[in-house]
Symmetry: C2
Subunit: 445 residues, 2 copies
């Protein structure tokens, strides 16, 4: 007998939750397009060498094998673990036919071949925007993608998200000026701040990288810097570190904060503890936290990568992008029952059937209503009206339509109030709020 | 160096083609919902025993392994090869929480682990509708799903599709009455008619199943029956075969044709050669052919299955469903350049930037336009207007907005005609046809 069960890390929604997810994804798409991003999708698989060439998630790849592959046929492909690497590969592959800079959005499932663990997804949806150009990508695009991401998130029925921004050049330049050699290793340890705290990071800097107490203290004092305006960066300038990369990073971050100054309070925060684990970032980096859900870590993230898309070609294809962890956000809000759909079905009207020979008249009503964009189903059998109404009630269908006495009269009943009115199938309109499914965020209980 | 290349069987679209695919899928979703089907998605993976329990595609499964799994860790999961088996599993698993009958649609990628072959997809999108009930599912739902499928397909910018219908009970009852024992084997051979022709099928019936010449001739004469009304079935009745299952099949097919009599000429054709390969069908079966593309075989298919969803439980969960091969349809029409988008970007307006300090004014124009649903991007750098216009032209953006002389005047230029007019950012509307991307089917060249 087949195993009928949930699989840890592979979430599935109820019909109502699926309507919520679709509503959210539609809104994300709509907003991405309003901001001039064009949709793209890439295949779910990449050659293993593409997947393993960059990034630190290489341990977590699912490889694919044909069930009846010959015993030692080596695995060639793996499922993608993010959408940045596949997009970079797509741009490099189709370079000749793509107008650059290319602004694209991509909403797809990604997979991580991790061991099962509570609350860890192995299949989830990401919604990404990226801009990729040839040779040079104006630094203004950093602000552009952050602004777009803010607008998209603010349009969703979720708690507000604060985008915490930093700059890799700033960090790497400062670490270099402080006398560190293994800059990526410092970044890797700073990235642990959230998880293990500053004391432990200081210890690791000393133990693993041979840092002095002074060096470690300086790294941590940079990571403590927060602010919403360029003035926050004075604390770093006051350290008197002389390094061209550091200066460039300070300048970029400063410009970024100025360009985004018109966004609402709390939308963007300069936070110099943000390092990002992936080693392909070269400039702006960002992690977003959902207010009240800081324990989740980041719900969106990204940054600028200047060397990822070239994938071995001579042309540089610098990019900047951000990714929303849609499934992580929804999964958490679903688990707290905070996201509610106005009903659990797209159907607005159930046309009741009173006799087998009334089917064509009932179908004609459905055709008329659908032509006006009103979602309609016809009950399949002439059961008692009570049973047909009970079906509508159970599904959450707000209206039941009673067609066609011998006199051709039509009536529609709002089964929530019991109110029934005579109507013309060629003209009746439901209240605007009953036309489609709406979604709202309710308070925590 | 990473391999930057296409992978046979894993299609990827251009930005323009992606806009077309999105347009088509939006329309499919909209029509499914108008017909009262609710969206669902299932995880991409199923336990191998679920995938291998039914159907004849079991050879073509991709199994998943963690890259760093211990050497002999057995594969547990495979990627789903259709959406019917996962949906049946979902219903069986969530039986207690689902209002039945459940009308659901599901649009997802599926994978077949086949050897690479020209024109054969290993990753593709299917768009399915199914209705599943408890214990009994009214036979009228057969007509309901076919009607929905016809309406959906007729709403798409593709050539018309003829739904060819038959009934498994009719075939199996007739084969039984003709004296066959291995009814599934007869079906399997009849299913080859399209590929190998009637003479070869007759030979195989004799050779593989020990049929007499008479028996083989009778099987083929049933398969020849075509028609659009119940009258077509008289040819079968005239054979004088006595079998209760056959009679039930004739009755069901006859009712189906009557229920769909109002659909346009050519929408539905009774075709008794349709057998369907999968062994889970128990009643109505259907294959759709796109007119002018009969060489492709079926572009949609499905049928009734009375025992699939129970998956080992005692409750029967009969269902009926149909599946559209979206990628197969689009792939073919793309290859012939028959599907054309009105432009290759969602963006309607590019706001030009004439100086760095004009950025906030340019952003304000974008905010105003987006608030009215007009997709807008702001150029990132104050290059010469000629370069900014060239960018819009290359992308297919129809309008360039010139903001803000010192006098605050705004002008918008239709770069297709060169016509430029002074406008108010709070009020300007593009022509309706330029608001979004539209898609049309063009003649074969």
């Amino acid at each position: 007998m087949a195993k009928i069960r949930a699989i840890s890390g592979f979430p599935e929604w109820t019909p109502e939750q699926q309507l919520v997810e679709n509503h959210v994804l539609d809104q994300v798409r709509r907003q991405f397009e309003l901001h001039g991003f064009t949709p793209l999708e890439t295949r779910a698989v990449e050659p293993l060498d593409v997947l393993l060439s960059k990034g630190e998630t290489s341990q977590e790849v699912y490889v694919l094998k044909r069930l009846h592959a010959k015993g030692d046929e080596p695995a060639e492909f793996g499922l993608h673990f993010d959408l940045t690497v596949p997009f970079a590969r797509y741009v490099a592959q189709n370079r000749g036919n793509l107008p650059l800079p290319l602004r694209r959005y991509q909403i797809q499932k990604v997979w991580r071949g991790e061991r099962p663990a509570l609350g860890r997804y192995r299949e989830f949806i990401q919604a990404d925007i990226d801009v990729i150009a040839s040779e040079n990508l104006a630094v203004e695009y950093d602000a552009e993608v952050l602004r777009t991401l803010h607008n998209v998130l603010a349009s969703l029925p979720i708690p507000p998200v604060t985008l915490r921004v930093n700059n890799r050049k700033l960090l790497q330049g400062a670490y270099e000026a402080l006398g560190f050699r293994e800059l990526d290793e410092v970044l890797r340890l700073v990235d642990k701040l959230d998880k293990v705290g500053p004391d432990e990071v200081a210890k690791l800097l000393v133990k693993e990288l041979g840092a002095s107490e002074d060096q470690a203290r300086s790294v941590l004092s940079i990571a403590k810097v927060r602010g919403t305006t360029p003035a926050a960066l004075e604390a770093v300038r006051a350290m008197g570190l002389a390094n061209a990369t550091l200066d460039e990073g300070l300048e970029e971050l400063s410009t970024l904060l100025e360009n985004l100054a018109d966004l609402p309070e709390g939308a963007v925060l300069c936070d110099l503890s943000i390092a990002r684990g992936l080693n392909y970032y070269t400039g702006m980096v960002c992690e977003g936290q959902m207010r009240g859900y800081e324990d989740m870590g980041s719900v969106c993230s990204g940054g600028r990568y200047d060397n990822l898309a070239s994938m071995g070609s001579n042309e540089k294809l610098p990019g900047v992008g951000l990714s929303i962890g849609v499934t992580r956000i929804l999964g958490r809000l679903f688990s707290e029952k905070r996201l509610v759909a106005s009903r659990a079905t797209p159907t607005t009207v159930l046309v009741a059937l009173d006799a087998p020979e009334a089917r064509s008249a009932a179908d004609a009503v459905a055709v008329a209503l659908r032509a006006r964009g009103i979602a309609t189903e016809v009950f399949d059998r002439p059961l008692k009206y009570g049973k047909q109404i009970a079906y509508a009630d159970k599904k959450g269908i707000p209206f039941v339509w009673f067609p066609t006495g011998a006199d051709g009269a039509h009536a529609v009943r709002d089964i929530r109030t019991g109110e029934q009115t005579e109507v013309d199938p060629a003209a009746w309109e439901p209240p605007a709020e009953d036309r489609g499914v709406s979604v709202r965020l309710v308070d925590q209980v």
